[in-house]
């Protein structure tokens, strides 16, 4: 077999490259986002291994057992109980492990506290956002061409109550690695703790009609004292 090893190496390299390009989740800026990112990275490592093994086997069969016009004996094996049990068992073990990891992270991401420090009612409507801070008169509403900015404190647990008066929208902040639908007739709550100060973009994730793509907003995460001063000062400008 002079040719296959080189080609096999090529296939493995190509496979790894493909997986590497297959996407990295954004650098998270929230506590919950970090848990999701860690989970994602584990999935990516498992996926890379599975891809390399399976694609390698496919590539190897094609190259090694290609028809070269010789009289090589064709295998007549068409059953092998042990082998078949093995390949029922392998993916079973794998998905059980992935499920357990998923369950742990899901518990953290979906955890709800009875008394979060700050609650903001987020209203998504065609095609803008409104942010109303509980226990204060601060209400920020976007206007066409002027998307609103949701100001959040760093290091404090925040609850967002998502509500819609019209159709289904979805509240998505890619750098928080969280998305939750904004459904008319029900209030969905998400809770999170921002870790890094900064400006982040958010958008509507669920198609909601004509100007869906313009339904965007900003998030400004600022230190907690600056945030509370801003809130008590009536929410003027951006701290």
């Amino acid at each position: 077999m002079p040719r296959p090893p080189a080609r096999l190496r090529l296939a493995v390299i190509a496979g790894l490259a493909a997986v590497a390009l297959g996407g990295c989740a954004p650098q998270p800026v929230s506590v919950e986002g970090e848990a999701v990112k860690t989970l994602y990275d584990i999935f990516l490592a498992v996926a890379a291994a599975v891809f390399v093994v399976v694609a390698g086997l496919i590539g190897w069969s094609i190259v090694r057992y290609g028809d070269r016009g010789d009289d090589r004996q064709i295998s007549s094996t068409h059953e092998n109980l042990r082998l078949e049990l093995l390949w029922w068992a392998l993916p079973t073990v794998l998905v059980i492990v992935l499920f357990i990891l998923t369950a742990q992270v899901l518990g953290r991401v979906d955890e709800r506290t009875d008394d979060p420090g700050l609650t903001v009612t987020v209203t998504g409507f065609q095609w803008q956002w409104r942010f109303a801070y509980e226990g204060s008169d601060v209400v920020l509403t976007g206007l066409p061409g002027e998307p609103p900015t949701l100001v959040l404190p760093v290091g404090e647990r925040v609850a967002l109550d998502l509500e819609s008066p019209d159709v289904i929208h979805s509240f998505w902040v890619p750098q928080f690695l969280i998305k939750r639908d904004v459904v008319p007739g029900r209030t969905n709550r998400i809770e999170l703790t921002v870790e890094e100060p900064g400006t982040y973009s958010g958008l509507c994730g669920e198609f909601c009609g004509l100007l869906h793509h313009r339904m965007r907003f900003s998030i400004e995460a600022v230190p907690a004292d600056a945030f509370h001063a801003w809130l008590e000062g009536g929410g003027e400008g951006i701290p």
Binding site: G22, P184, N188
Partner: protein, 545 residues
């Protein structure tokens, strides 16, 4: 057997009127396939227009209203009127041949199925001719957006009617396939000798029979909501917009397998023939197919992880489970190639493309089955990438394999291998350059179904590459259409003989094209590959074809 070789039998060439009035499963199969390719081309053109708009940030060619109609009808057209009918079309042509029957159980019903399908497609697309345009709420039409308040006009009603018609077509067709498999198998064709493709169609038929009525009911309720008054899916009316999502995805996830299983069947037919081997683990493959079909009823709410209205952990568990029988299929295909003698003719090339691409789509599916990861990836371009790796890189590639594999049987003419290979490489490169980068765009925060996107660093360049690559797919597909026109319609293809590939199942034991009632004589059926057995028995004679 030798009497069946050589040029196609001299028969009166079929006239248009023969097709319009036929109840012959083969002619109906051909009509399904031609119509489905027609919708595939239309759906592809809609996609190309979208990609032209998305090549650069900001709106250039279209307004939002047009863009929203395009992606809605692209999804609707591809799913209901292209991919599913491609599977049904091949099933129509091949299933009676594979079980050794002269036709399907109810030939007139079969003709009605086709005409309902065609009518459904035309009605749904006729929305483009109305003043307010076609439906523009996405192929899964979530209320309240899809109700009369937010989507007025005739287009959405035509969309509903078109889907109801095509649903009726699917239900009648599945009854026909189930009855044919259970009652019309040739003597000796036990259930465990039925070819894998036909097994897949049997499972698909059961899925259609159990889920299309749910879709039809949901559509009827939506129609009443739209035309009389909101009652079923609107919170103000005391109801719940999530209800639609349960009904829709209870249909919609089995639908994914309705679009995938026929093509798993194709792959399971092509791999052994071009490896010169018997399929590995036939019974395990049948078991895996039935298991996938059964599991597919339990996973629907993984489309709803972000609604906050379902038990995410439960549906994550069921969704992970379905990876197991799917993985088993991969190992079975690999084991079939293992130590065989693999011929890289065009059908096998497309199957190899399927194997790699469906692997990617299957793996990204496991990511999406994990709710925390889905919270990021849901409704983003990651899902667009995943779904196209499954339905295009998977199902459509296998459909192309099926065309190259069975058109010689259907027409008696070989397709050009040169054009076929050019088609394969263009679509392979075009497909992967188009859809692979979408994984990253989605994770980075590009939502699906947007007419425009912000000019974030790298997004413009990536989208431009995607748009250019989608042109390669168009060129490749045009080569395919030209190949069929040239080889079959213009008659330039070499005569196929009755068995050009060394086939295994019964369709390769009759002439190409088969006579009116399929078989003049039939070899004895002692395994799942009677044509192979007949060749072995006649081993003293030179090989046919």
């Amino acid at each position: 057997m030798t009497a069946m070789t050589g040029a196609p039998p001299v028969e009166e060439p079929a006239r248009i009127i023969d097709y319009l009035t036929t109840t012959d499963h083969k002619k109906i199969g051909v009509m399904y396939l031609v119509t489905a390719v027609g919708f595939l081309v239309v759906g592809g053109i809609l996609a190309l227009i979208m990609r032209a708009e998305l090549a650069f940030p900001e709106l250039q060619l279209l307004d939002e209203s047009t863009y929203n109609q395009l992606f809605t009808m692209h999804g609707t057209g591809m799913i209901f009127f292209a991919i599913v009918p491609l599977g049904i079309g091949f099933a129509n042509y091949l299933l009676p041949l594979q079980v050794g029957a002269p036709d399907v159980a109810f030939p007139r019903l079969n003709a009605l199925s086709y005409w309902l399908y065609l009518a459904g497609g035309l009605v749904a697309f006729s929305g483009f001719l109305t003043a307010s345009g076609a439906a523009a709420f996405g192929w899964y039409g979530y209320p309240p957006l899809s109700n009369e308040t937010y989507s007025p006009g005739a287009g959405p009603n035509l969309w509903i009617m078109g889907l109801i018609l095509s649903g009726a077509s699917g239900i009648l067709g599945s009854v026909n396939f189930i009855a044919t498999v259970f009652t019309m198998r040739a003597p000796g064709m036990t259930m465990f000798r039925v070819p894998i493709f036909t097994w897949n169609i049997l499972v698909v038929s059961l899925l259609i029979l159990l889920t299309f009525p749910v879709l039809t009911a949901a559509l009827a309720l939506l129609f009443i909501d739209r035309t009389v008054s909101n009652a079923f899916f609107t919170p103000e009316a005391g109801s719940n917009s999530i209800l639609w999502q349960h009904l829709f995805w209870f249909f919609g996830h089995p639908e994914v397998y309705i679009m995938a299983l026929p093509f798993f069947g194709v792959v399971s037919e092509v791999v052994p023939v071009f490896s010169g081997k018997r399929i590995f683990g036939y019974r395990a493959l049948v078991f895996a197919t039935v298991l996938i079909g059964a599991y597919s009823f339990s996973v629907w709410a993984h489309h709803m992880f972000t609604t906050g209205a379902v038990s995410n952990l439960f549906f994550a568990a069921t969704s992970f489970l379905i990876a197991i029988p799917t993985g088993v299929k991969f190992f079975t295909w690999i084991a079939t190639m293992w130590r065989g003698r693999i011929r890289l003719a065009t059908p096998m090339l497309f199957v190899i493309g399927f194997l790699f691409q469906f692997l990617v789509g299957g793996i990204s599916g496991v990511f999406l089955a994990s709710p925390p990861i889905d919270y990021q990836a849901h409704d983003s371009y990651y899902v667009v990438a995943h779904m196209h790796y499954v339905l295009f890189g998977g199902s459509a590639f296998a459909a192309f394999a099926a065309f190259y594999f069975w058109i010689p049987k259907i027409s008696g003419r070989m397709l050009s291998e040169g054009l076929g290979k050019a088609h394969f490489w263009l679509v392979l490169i075009g497909f992967n350059l188009t859809f692979f980068p979408m994984h990253q765009l989605g994770l980075d925060g590009m939502a699906r179904r947007v007419a425009d996107y912000p000019a974030n660093p790298g997004w413009g360049e990536t989208n431009l590459v995607i748009s250019l690559a989608s042109g390669l797919i168009a060129v490749g597909t045009a080569l395919f259409v030209w190949n069929v026109v040239r080889s079959v319609w213009m008659g330039c293809g070499a005569p196929a003989g009755h068995d050009p590939w060394g086939g295994h199942s019964l369709e390769w034991a009759t002439s190409s094209p088969p006579p009116h009632h399929n078989f003049v004589a039939m070899p004895p059926i002692r395994s799942e590959r009677p044509a192979w057995d007949a060749r072995q028995a006649a081993a003293a004679e030179p090989r046919d074809g």
